[in-house]
Each structure stands twice: as structure tokens, then as C-alpha cells.
């Protein structure tokens, strides 16, 4: 997956995923929520999430809920790491404004 030195191949879809996390840097998102916010299909989204996690930009953990009481399975939640936040900001700053608009 991603490289341990933190370099990630930047595609438009990767930028769109990063934008979702940058808008709320402290929030945790499940893959389903990221899909709802940026509309990227699952076939593209999950490799990107794993790539960014493997590169150290994201960290993930299971949702701490009781599935039987909520009636749904627990989700895997992703969050930007501080290194990921810094690198993602650098990436966006290097682009011209409005690239993603």
C-alpha cells in the first residue's frame, strides 16, 4: 500500500478524500461517511484510505459501541494524524486555489 516515508501518489480522488478530513481535522469518519461527503465509489475509496493509513497520514480504530444495543455493526473510523494534517495542508497549499471546485 502506501510508502512508509509518507509519500502518497496524489490523484484527484485522493485530494477529495483529504479535503473531507481537512474540513474537520479532529473528526473521525467511517468509509461510508467519506463516501457520502465526496461521492467516491467504494472501489476507489478504500484503497485510498488504506494507502493514506499505511503512509501514516491517517490512523484508524474501531468505533467503541455495543453493536447489540445499537443494532448495527461497529464501524472503522479514520482520522488525520498530525503528520497527515501537515502534509495534506502542504499539498493543498501547493495547488492553485479552486482546483477542487
Amino acid at each position: 500500500m502506501g510508502k512508509k516515508d509518507g509519500n502518497v501518489r496524489m490523484s484527484l480522488q485522493t485530494l477529495r478524500v483529504l479535503e473531507v478530513f481537512l474540513e474537520n481535522p479532529t473528526e473521525r469518519f467511517a468509509g461510508a461517511e467519506v463516501h457520502q461527503r465526496c461521492g467516491i465509489a467504494s472501489g476507489t475509496l478504500y484503497p485510498i484510505l488504506l494507502r493514506l493509513e499505511s503512509a501514516g497520514w491517517f490512523t484508524s480504530q474501531w468505533e467503541s459501541i455495543d453493536p447489540s444495543s445499537l443494532g448495527r455493526p461497529r464501524r472503522r473510523l479514520y482520522r488525520l494524524t498530525s503528520a497527515g494534517l501537515r502534509r495534506a495542508s502542504e499539498v493543498f497549499a501547493s495547488f492553485n486555489r479552486g482546483v477542487l471546485a
Binding site: 467504494s42 475509496l45 448495527r72
Partner: protein, 300 residues
């Protein structure tokens, strides 16, 4: 009952697809991906959306397998031996990487489609040839004279069609920081239709704008724009009633060049509904539309 059975059958297919996709992934990720995908598929409402999600997971697995370091996927390598395409992708035999294989597949499909198209066209070539057409001058047909409609009379009743008079409010464009100005309508030139004794009324008009209690621009500065140091002025057009409330959705007249800032300006304009100062004519607030600028500027 049959609908429920149908739903259960669809759910089984989707779960099977996800299970199948997850088990083709590297062993260290397999159980995690299956649980994650089964949880995420629950958020999809329609059966079609769930099916697309499950098929997407199959594709995701192929991408993950091709990208995952070989040192970290010992199980994947042995399991992949039985799966022709993935095996070729993993071993990266020159032209037979996953990506180039997909490219060849797409190119092959295009070639087949092109061949079918060409052969079909060659069969229908004779039929598609247009017949010889000649142009003939056509005598122009005189327009039919339509007699004027008779006065509408029904059993002794006569309907008079009255003239429709529409009052159109004046269009005013006001900048946010521009001083409010009094606009006086210049007297219109002499019109013979007006009776000479009609007095010329000068309307004193004061343009509207954001008024007391209008939200702060800083509250609508997009957080990402602050983070990236984005600044700009977005000009928004609003239509407000006499009480300073929006009568229609605000629109961007002149963008700042940044979609995030423009969206922030629109949110500000929406939030300000009820806090606009209405345009007044002779001191009376009236409905009007005007534009104002929203400046997003970071403090130095």
C-alpha cells in the same frame, strides 16, 4: 412475504460478494476489511447502492492486492496462484501488471466495438445513401387574413378586457461599504399621452444593505480557507422584502475566484435574513434586490 424473501436473497448476495472480496485481500487485512465493509454497507439505503458497494469492494481488493507489499502478504501470494489474473498482476510480468492488463482489456473492447460498428455500417451503406434531392422554388403563400375577434358577447353580457398594469420595483445595486445614496428620478421627457397637468413626482430612494444584527463575516470564514490563507471578495445579490427578510435564494454576482469563499458568502447572506435594511422610497420600506460585497480577509 415474497418481498421479504427477495430482500433476504439480495442481502445474501451482497454479503457473499463482500465476504468473497475481503478473503481475496491480504490475510492481515482480510477480517478487518470484511467487518468494515459489512458495517459500511449497512448505511446504504437502496439495494442497487448496496450491490454497487459490494462490487466496488471486489475492485478495491484487486487494487489493494496489487499495491500491498509482497513481504506483508505471504498468504495472498500463495492464494493468488490459483487466480490467473491476480497472479499475473502480483508477479508483475512486464506487460502483465494489473494496470496494463486492464488497459489491454479496455483497448480490446474498443477494438471489438469498432469492428462491429464498421461491419454494420458497411452493410447498411446502400440503405443510408440519401436519394437525389432537387430544390424547387416554392411560391410564397400569402398570410391568411384573420378577422379581428368580435366583441365577446354572451346572452347580453359584454366582457371588457382591462389593461393590465404591472408595478415593477426598481433594481438597485448597492455595495456593502459604499455610502448610502439618495437616488432621484430625473423627470421623464414630455409625453403627449400624459395630461399636461400631471405633477412630476420625485421619488426619494435610499438603497438597502446589511443592517443591525447582521452576522459577522468572520463567523462564516471557511475553516479550510483560514487554514490555507485564502482571501477575497465575493459579491452577492439578495432580494429582500420591506422587513429585511430574504425573498429568494441569494446568488453570487461576482465570485472571489475561490468556490469555498463564495459558498461562505452565500451562507452569510442566508444567515442575515431578517437583518437586512430594506430599500426605502419616500421613507417607506419596499421590496428590492441589490448586491453587496463580502470581504474575507485574514488579520495580519
Amino acid at each position: 412475504m415474497s418481498q421479504r424473501n427477495e430482500r433476504l436473497r439480495q442481502s445474501d448476495v451482497i454479503h457473499w460478494l463482500i465476504h468473497h472480496a475481503a478473503h481475496r485481500a491480504p490475510e492481515s487485512l482480510s477480517s478487518r476489511l470484511e467487518e468494515e465493509w459489512l458495517a459500511d454497507v449497512e448505511s446504504r439505503s437502496s439495494a442497487w447502492s448496496r450491490l454497487r458497494f459490494a462490487l466496488g469492494c471486489c475492485w478495491a481488493t484487486m487494487v489493494i492486492v496489487s499495491e500491498y507489499p509482497r513481504s506483508r502478504v505471504p498468504a495472498a501470494s500463495s492464494a493468488a496462484a490459483a487466480r490467473g489474473f491476480i497472479t499475473l498482476a502480483d508477479r508483475n510480468f512486464g506487460y502483465f501488471s494489473l494496470r496494463s492488463g486492464t488497459l489491454f482489456l479496455i483497448a480490446g473492447l474498443h477494438a471489438v466495438l469498432f469492428y462491429v460498428l464498421i461491419t454494420t455500417l458497411s452493410h447498411t451503406h446502400g440503405l443510408a445513401t440519401p436519394p437525389n434531392l432537387q430544390n424547387y422554388p416554392v411560391n410564397p403563400v400569402a398570410p391568411e387574413k384573420v378577422p379581428p375577434p368580435p366583441a365577446m358577447e354572451m346572452k347580453g353580457w359584454t366582457i371588457d378586457v382591462q389593461k393590465l398594469v404591472v408595478d415593477v420595483p426598481p433594481k438597485i445595486d448597492v455595495e456593502d461599504d459604499a455610502p448610502r445614496q439618495v437616488v432621484e428620478k430625473s423627470p421623464e421627457p414630455y409625453s403627449p399621452s400624459l395630461p399636461p397637468e400631471t405633477p412630476i413626482h420625485v421619488v426619494q430612494q435610499v438603497g438597502g444593505g446589511p443592517g443591525a444584527g447582521f452576522p459577522e463575516t468572520a463567523d462564516f470564514y471557511p475553516s479550510l480557507s483560514i487554514h490555507l490563507g485564502e482571501e477575497g471578495i465575493s459579491t452577492v445579490r439578495v432580494c429582500v422584502d420591506a422587513k429585511g427578510r430574504l425573498t429568494s435564494e441569494p446568488t453570487t454576482v461576482k465570485g472571489s475566484g475561490n468556490a469555498r469563499l463564495d459558498e461562505g458568502a452565500l451562507k452569510l447572506a442566508r444567515a442575515g435574513s431578517g437583518h437586512y435594511r430594506a430599500t426605502t422610497e419616500d421613507g417607506q420600506p419596499v421590496n428590492s434586490c441589490y448586491a453587496f460585497g463580502v470581504r474575507f480577509q485574514l488579520k495580519k
